[in-house]
């Protein structure tokens, strides 16, 4: 069952990602981004990472994409003022470079040969919570400082007069 679901959700994720980078209007891109994020959350469930799948849906699809859509509607660029994208040599080179990168990952991924660890419950809320609040407690606490800095930075940047 897992291979079938992997191919299904992997294809949805890749197709959605391609649509995100090819749509002209950013709103269409944002909606396809939600599709990709949901498919990736489903892949997390396939790998038994239930906690991360929930966080993916809540934080990514629920908060970050809503922030994107909010900004798209707030600045509301009219259709005829959207940047015109032309195919130039440099852009084509960029696509080719990314294609080569994907090829390289494909070759490297085929050689991946790490022995499987114990079949432990590694992605549940319990396991992740224990790791977060014991081994990675300092990193977790510093994360809150990062978020505070981001909040203050966002306010100072977007405010007209402080």
């Amino acid at each position: 069952m897992e291979p079938v679901l992997f191919i299904l959700f992997g294809a949805i994720a890749v197709g959605g990602a391609i649509m995100v980078v090819t749509r002209k209007h950013p709103m269409a891109s944002a909606l396809y981004l939600i599709l990709t994020l949901f498919a990736v959350a489903a892949l997390f469930v396939l790998r038994q990472a239930h906690f991360l799948a929930a966080i993916q849906v809540i934080v990514y699809a629920g908060a970050i994409v809503v922030l994107f859509i909010f900004v798209i509607m707030l600045i509301n660029v009219p259709e005829n003022k959207l940047p015109v994208e032309r195919v130039t040599g440099m852009r084509l080179l960029g696509v080719i470079a990314a294609g080569l990168f994907i090829l390289e990952t494909a070759l490297l991924a085929r050689r991946f040969a790490m022995p499987a660890g114990p079949a432990a419950d590694s992605g549940s809320v319990q396991a992740v919570g224990r790791a977060l609040f014991t081994d990675y407690l300092l990193a977790f606490e510093i994360t809150s400082v990062l978020l505070l800095a981001a909040v203050i930075g966002a306010i100072t940047l977007a405010k007209k007069k402080i």
Binding site: L52, F101, T105, A154
Partner: protein
């Protein structure tokens, strides 16, 4: 299932994100492409973490998500400030720091 398939998918998502960042002119779509790249990395973390039966993969993916949230908030704030100043989201027109 072997994690190599997940690693391949992660590479494909990252590559598509790179294409979006390199090719597009619309700053909003560039920020979304960065999110796709970070998601591709998360797929690799989760795949290898569950393969090794270690919660560290999930913890690192969690940290990546936090950084992605902070990056989106600050990036979009910068975008609003730029739009207020120059009325554009086209990054090729934003070259005041170029000499």
């Amino acid at each position: 299932m072997e994690p190599s398939a997940y690693l391949l998918l992660s590479g494909i998502l990252f590559g598509i994100g790179v294409v979006g960042v390199v090719v597009r002119k619309n700053a909003l779509i560039i920020l979304m492409s960065v999110e796709i790249m970070l998601n591709g990395v998360n797929v690799a973390f989760i795949a290898v973490g569950s393969h090794l039966g270690d919660a560290t993969g999930s913890v690192f993916a969690f940290m990546v998500m936090t950084v992605a949230a902070a990056e989106a908030a600050v990036g979009l704030a910068i975008l609003i400030a730029i739009f207020r100043l120059k009325e554009t989201v086209d990054i090729t027109e934003l070259s005041v720091l170029k000499w």
